[in-house]
């Protein structure tokens, strides 16, 4: 039976998660690029949101959430076939339409996160093609494995709001695409600083707010679970913000805004898989760990591996999502964490690790193939002249700022 209160909260949560892509992520990423590429990032976010929404309706949802196969959903819900207006989503008290819509916002933001890897040099057609295929070939199956009753769910993997399904998939795939598309031509020494750090902060703030919907909405009901998830989410973000700031302060003497909000996002990504499991104390500790480990992650990818994952999708999201997933068994036991695990802690850890590693591998391989295909069909990269000129004008025929009188 439909519970109107649960529904009210999930309707709200859905709006909040849409806000995370449009405009939060768009601003977060848009502020980090050069002024000549700001619009391209925004179009990419809007276009990925649009195309993945339509595809989710057409096939994605069915592949993820219909049937209980080990590997993939069945085709019964294609075009949301058979979903009546009053159908209730099994295992919840909300209408299936609301469940479809809530999950759609996840299927939108996950490929949108990957945009951070290839900005400032990718062809727009490749963005569309890769995102569409990726949502169907990587996201939908993994969502099925973990949340749709697939093999990882059966094995007992725990992922409350998407540490594996969202952040590991996006982070690893981002790395693969960044590596395949090659660095921006000025990388690493001629890269220009973020053109609008204020915009990065506004995006991060809206992400923080939206993440309340993402994590507390993942309870799929209104009540104590959602409440604790929101509290844990917030505390992890706050603690991670402080720690990243502290690291920069100690290291460079100047705590930066971009750093602080990068910490925020790291804290949010990291708590995601554990949001419904952690108590407040666990969340504060996990947030602190998030900033330490993700700081290392960013440095590893950019400085050591030399891959131009331009806006640090792997370093922040991938590493954070994996960390939270792996730390979950520990965090569940701290303070007023739920304490409920599917297995004894050590075994749960092993299961979590299997989840992270297998999904990472799968994402890497599938993304590699998708990206190869996109390269063959439409080409990955704009030519140097367009890259120099900026994608805003070269690809979209516009300029971000016409301030001249």
């Amino acid at each position: 039976m439909i519970n109107a209160a649960d529904t009210a909260w999930i309707l709200t949560a859905t709006a909040l998660v849409l806000l995370m892509t449009l405009p939060a992520l768009a601003l977060f990423y848009g502020g980090l690029v050069q002024a000549k590429n700001i619009l391209s990032v925004l179009v990419q976010c809007a276009a990925v949101a649009a195309i993945c929404s339509v595809l989710w309706f057409a096939v994605g949802y069915s592949l993820s959430y219909s049937g209980d196969g080990d590997w993939l959903g069945d085709g019964a819900a294609i075009f949301l076939n058979g979903m009546g207006r009053d159908t209730v989503r099994a295992g919840t008290h909300i209408p299936e339409s609301v469940f479809v819509m809530f999950q759609m916002t996840f299927a939108v933001i996950t490929p949108a996160l990957i945009i951070g890897a290839y900005v400032e040099r990718i062809r727009f057609a490749a963005v569309l093609l890769i995102s569409a295929l990726w949502m169907l070939i990587v996201y939908a199956p993994v969502a099925h494995w973990v949340w749709g009753g697939g093999w990882l769910a059966k094995m007992g993997v725990m992922d409350f709001a998407g540490g594996i399904v969202v952040h590991v998939t996006a982070g690893v795939s981002a790395l693969v695409i960044a590596w395949m598309i090659q660095p921006r031509h000025e990388f690493p020494h001629g890269i220009r600083p973020p053109h609008a750090p204020w915009m990065v902060m506004v995006g991060a703030s809206l992400l923080w707010v939206g993440w309340f919907g993402f994590n507390a909405g993942s309870a799929l009901s209104s009540g104590a679970d959602a409440g604790m998830a929101m509290l844990a989410t917030h505390l992890s973000a706050a603690s991670a913000t402080l720690v990243w700031m502290a690291i920069e302060w100690i290291k460079f003497g100047k705590p930066s805004l971009v750093g602080a909000v990068t910490g925020t996002i790291a804290g949010l990504a990291t708590i995601t898989p554990a949001a419904g499991i952690a108590g407040p104390l666990g969340a504060v500790l996990l947030g602190a760990a998030a900033s330490c480990i993700c700081y290392l992650g960013v440095w590893l990818v950019k400085r050591v591996m030399g891959v131009d994952d331009a806006l640090d999708v792997l370093g922040v999201h991938g590493v954070g999502g994996a960390l939270g997933t792996l730390a979950l068994p520990l965090v569940a036991l701290i303070g007023s964490g739920t304490g409920h695990l599917n297995h004894v802690p050590l075994q749960q850890f092993t299961v979590q690790a299997i989840g992270v590693v297998s999904v990472a591998l799968f994402s890497a391989i599938a993304t590699y193939l998708i990206t190869r295909l996109a390269d063959m069909l439409v080409g990955l990269r704009v030519d140097l002249e367009h890259e120099t000129l900026g994608l805003d004008f070269a690809t979209h025929g516009e300029s971000g700022y016409h301030m001249n009188r």
């Binding site: 971009v258 960013v298 950019k302």
Partner: protein, 112 residues
């Protein structure tokens, strides 16, 4: 007439303007520019990566003057703009062949 062009530190503009107006020079044109010189630029660090900003913000102040005011004015600007640190800027003088006030069509020193 001469055209005196001073490249100065942005925060000295008010000083320079006051110095000029107090000596009866009531016109000038200011442009935001970026300067490269001994001052070198600075470094900004985002997410652990260093970004070198080679060019520093400066202002260019241009003043057209009768020949006989040039030395005074240069001295005044120098004093008003000086902080004593590297990057305080330069003053350049070129010869101005003609000047005209658009509104009235006056030319020469009357136009200034």
């Amino acid at each position: 007439m001469k055209l005196v062009t001073a490249i100065i530190q942005p925060h000295r503009l008010d000083n320079v303007r006051q110095a000029l107006t107090s000596m009866g020079i009531d016109g000038m044109t200011v442009t935001e520019v970026r300067g490269y010189g001994r001052q070198r630029g600075h470094t900004e660090i985002y997410r652990g990566a260093e970004y070198t900003i080679s060019f520093m913000p400066k202002l260019k102040v241009e003043v057209a003057l009768p020949d006989n005011r040039v030395d005074d004015v240069i001295a005044a600007i120098t004093q008003a703009a000086r902080t004593g640190k590297i990057g305080d800027g330069k003053i350049f003088t070129v010869d101005l062949e003609a000047a005209l006030r658009v509104r009235t069509g006056e030319t020469g020193e009357d136009a200034l």
